[in-house]
C-alpha cells in the first residue's frame, strides 16, 4: 500500500534520533570529548552517536598507513642508521629528498637530510630502496603548514622517528 514506505522511513529516523540519547557513548557535559581517549564507536548499522570529536580524539592509524618520512636510530649506539648512500634520493619520483654528506668512501658522513614535504606523494619507494634499515613511513598525518615549501631536516625526521617508537624498517609488513 502507498505510504507504508514513508512511515517506515519516518520511524527509522526517529528511532535513531531518540536512541542517540540512550545508547552508545554520551558526551560528558562540560567536556565535549572523552578524556580517556576515543570512546568506542558503534558499527555503521548500529544506533547511537558515532561522531569523533577530532582535535581531542583521534583514530589510531592502521599499521601500513603512509605518513611523513622518518629516520630510525640504531638502538645500541643511538645514532641514525643512515649512511648517506643516496639511494632514496635516486628512487624518489619527485626529487623530494636531498642528502647532504661530507667525505668519500668509508669516511662519508651524513650532515643533513632535506625532505620536501610539499612535493612528497607518499609512495614509499625511498623506504623500499633503503638497504640500511634507516628510514620508514611514520603515522604522522597532520602535516599542514603556512609555508609553501615545507622542508623537514634530519633533526625533525629523527624526532618523528623517536615519537613513533619504531626501530625496524618494514615492521608492519612482516
Amino acid at each position: 500500500m502507498f505510504g507504508i514506505g514513508l512511515m517506515k522511513g519516518l520511524f527509522t529516523t526517529v528511532k535513531h534520533g531518540i536512541l542517540t540519547y540512550f545508547k552508545g557513548y554520551k558526551h560528558p557535559f562540560p567536556k565535549r570529548y572523552f578524556t580517556e581517549g576515543p570512546a568506542p564507536r558503534l558499527e555503521p548499522e548500529g544506533v547511537g552517536l558515532f561522531t569523533l570529536q577530532y582535535p581531542e580524539e583521534k583514530y589510531k592509524m592502521f599499521p601500513r598507513f603512509r605518513g611523513a618520512l622518518m629516520h630510525l636510530r640504531d638502538p645500541e649506539t643511538g645514532k641514525p642508521r643512515c649512511t648517506a648512500c643516496g639511494a632514496c634520493a635516486l628512487a624518489c619520483p619527485h626529487g623530494v629528498i636531498e642528502v647532504v654528506a661530507e667525505g668519500k668512501g668509508k669516511e662519508r658522513k651524513l650532515v643533513d637530510y632535506r625532505y620536501n614535504l610539499g612535493r612528497c606523494i607518499f609512495c614509499r619507494l625511498c623506504v623500499e630502496t633503503c638497504r640500511f634499515n634507516a628510514i620508514e613511513m611514520s603515522h604522522e598525518y597532520e602535516l599542514a603548514s603556512y609555508d609553501k615549501d615545507l622542508v623537514l631536516h634530519l633533526e625533525d625526521l629523527l624526532k618523528i622517528g623517536d615519537k613513533s617508537g619504531v626501530s625496524e624498517k618494514d615492521w608492519a609488513w612482516k
Binding site: F2, G3, L6, H16, G17
Partner: protein, 379 residues
C-alpha cells in the same frame, strides 16, 4: 493579574504613560510601532533558535551531535553565524540586474514578517484581528514567489534562474490545493478570521474533524516554504543553491531569515487552522501556541531528515493530478455537510464518514497508479 492578559495590560500601561506627555496621535503611533518592533524582534530570535534547533535535531536524527563547539552544547552558535554573515563582503555580480538584485532580499522579508500581523498568538494576543485574515495570509504567500523570481533573474546566473523558475512553478502549483484545503476549513468554521477559526474548533480541532484537509495543507505547507523533500528551488546537488546562489553577507542573511520565518509561519498556520491554535488546559494560551508550533516544526525537521528530494515532474504531477482533485472532492464533501444542515451532534461523524470514503479511494488510487521503479537489488 492573570497571565492571560499580561501583554495587553502592559500595552495599556505604556499607552497611558506615553499619552501623559505626548499628543494623542503620536502616542498611538508609538504604541503601534512598539508592537511591530516586538513582533520583528521576536521573529529574529525565533529564527536564531530555529537554526540551532534544526542543526541539533537533524544531527541527532542522523546519529551525529550537531554544533557543540561555541558555548555549552553549542547554544551560542547562531550568534557566531549571524556575526559571520554580517561581516562578510557584499558581492554583486557584474552581469546582475543591480536593482532587482538589491530589491529581492528586501521584498522577500517583508511579506514573511507581515504574516504575523494577523496571527493569533493567544486569546488576547493578536496584532490585528482581520476578518479576511486567511485570504491575507495566502496572498502574502504568493508575494514570496515574486521575490524569488526577482532574485533568480536579477543574479544573472543560469543556476539561480533555474531555481527561480522552479520556485515559481512549485509555489503556484501548491497554492491551489492549499487554498482548497483552507477553504474547507473556512466553510466549516464559517469565518475567515483566524481568531474565529480557533474559537470554532471547540470540541475537536479540525485536524481530527477533517484529516484530509489537514494532510493536504501540511504537504502544501512544506512545499510552500521550499523545505525538503520539496526543496527543489534550492536543491544543492542539482543547482547548487538555486535563487540565492549569488548572494553573500547581509543579503544572504535576509533570504535565510525569510526562509525560517516562513517555516515558522506555516507551522503557526497549521496550528491555528487545524490543531486548535492557542487552545489548551492550565497553561496560558500563548504558551500552548508555542508548544504546538514547536511540535509542528519538529515534524518539519523530521521530514527533512527522512525523505529524499522529489523530481520536478513528480512534484508537479503530485500537485495537479492528486492534491488538486483530492482537495476539490474534500471541499465538495464539506459543502454538502454544511449545506445539509445536519444536527450538531452529527456534524463530526458526517465529516468522518466523508473523509474516510475519500481517504480509502485516494489511497487505492495512489497504490494502484504509483509506478514501482525500485531496482530489485534495492528492495
Amino acid at each position: 493579574m492573570d497571565l492571560e492578559s499580561i501583554f495587553p495590560r502592559l500595552q495599556e500601561i505604556i499607552a497611558q504613560w506615553l499619552s501623559s506627555f505626548l499628543p494623542g496621535w503620536l502616542a498611538e503611533l508609538l504604541v503601534i510601532l512598539m508592537v511591530v518592533l516586538a513582533i520583528v524582534l521576536m521573529m529574529v530570535v525565533v529564527v536564531m533558535v530555529l537554526t540551532l534547533l534544526e542543526r541539533k535535531i537533524l544531527g541527532r536524527l542522523q546519529d551525529r551531535i550537531g554544533p557543540n563547539r561555541v558555548g555549552p552544547y553549542g547554544v551560542i552558535q547562531p550568534v557566531a553565524d549571524t556575526l559571520k554573515l554580517l561581516f562578510k563582503e557584499d558581492i554583486v555580480p557584474e552581469k546582475a540586474d543591480k536593482l532587482l538584485h538589491l530589491l529581492a532580499p528586501i521584498i522577500i522579508v517583508v511579506p514573511a514578517l507581515m504574516v504575523w500581523a494577523v496571527m493569533p498568538f493567544g486569546k488576547k494576543l493578536v496584532a490585528a484581528d482581520l476578518n479576511i485574515a486567511v485570504l491575507y495570509v495566502i496572498a502574502l504567500g504568493s508575494v514570496t514567489s515574486i521575490a524569488i523570481l526577482m532574485a533568480g533573474w536579477g543574479s544573472g546566473n543560469k543556476y539561480s534562474l533555474l531555481g527561480g523558475f522552479r520556485a515559481v512553478a512549485q509555489l503556484f502549483s501548491y497554492e491551489v490545493p492549499m487554498g482548497l484545503a483552507v477553504l474547507s476549513v473556512v466553510m466549516a468554521a464559517g469565518s475567515m478570521s483566524l481568531q474565529s477559526i480557533v474559537k470554532a474548533q471547540s470540541p475537536l480541532p479540525f485536524a481530527f474533524v477533517q484529516p484530509i484537509a489537514f494532510l493536504i495543507y501540511f504537504i502544501c505547507g512544506v512545499a510552500e516554504v521550499n523545505r525538503s523533500p520539496f526543496d527543489l528551488p534550492e536543491a544543492e546537488s542539482e543547482i547548487i543553491a538555486g535563487y540565492h546562489i549569488e548572494y553573500t553577507g547581509v543579503k544572504f542573511a535576509m533570504f535565510f531569515l525569510a526562509e525560517y520565518i516562513n517555516t515558522f509561519a506555516v507551522s503557526a498556520m497549521v496550528v491555528t487552522l487545524f490543531l486548535g491554535g492557542w487552545k489548551g488546559p492550565i497553561l496560558p494560551s500563548y504558551v500552548w501556541f508555542f508548544i504546538k508550533v514547536a511540535i509542528v516544526v519538529y515534524v518539519f525537521f523530521w521530514l527533512r531528515a527522512s525523505f529524499p528530494r522529489l523530481r520536478i515532474d513528480q512534484l508537479l504531477n503530485f500537485a495537479w493530478k492528486f492534491l488538486v482533485p483530492l482537495g476539490m472532492v474534500n471541499l465538495l464533501v464539506t459543502g454538502i455537510v454544511v449545506k445539509l444542515n445536519v444536527p450538531v451532534w452529527l456534524t463530526v461523524p458526517a465529516y468522518w464518514a466523508g473523509n474516510f470514503v475519500i481517504g480509502v479511494i485516494a489511497l487505492y488510487l495512489l497504490t494502484r497508479f504509483t509506478p514501482k521503479k525500485t531496482p530489485v537489488s534495492l528492495r
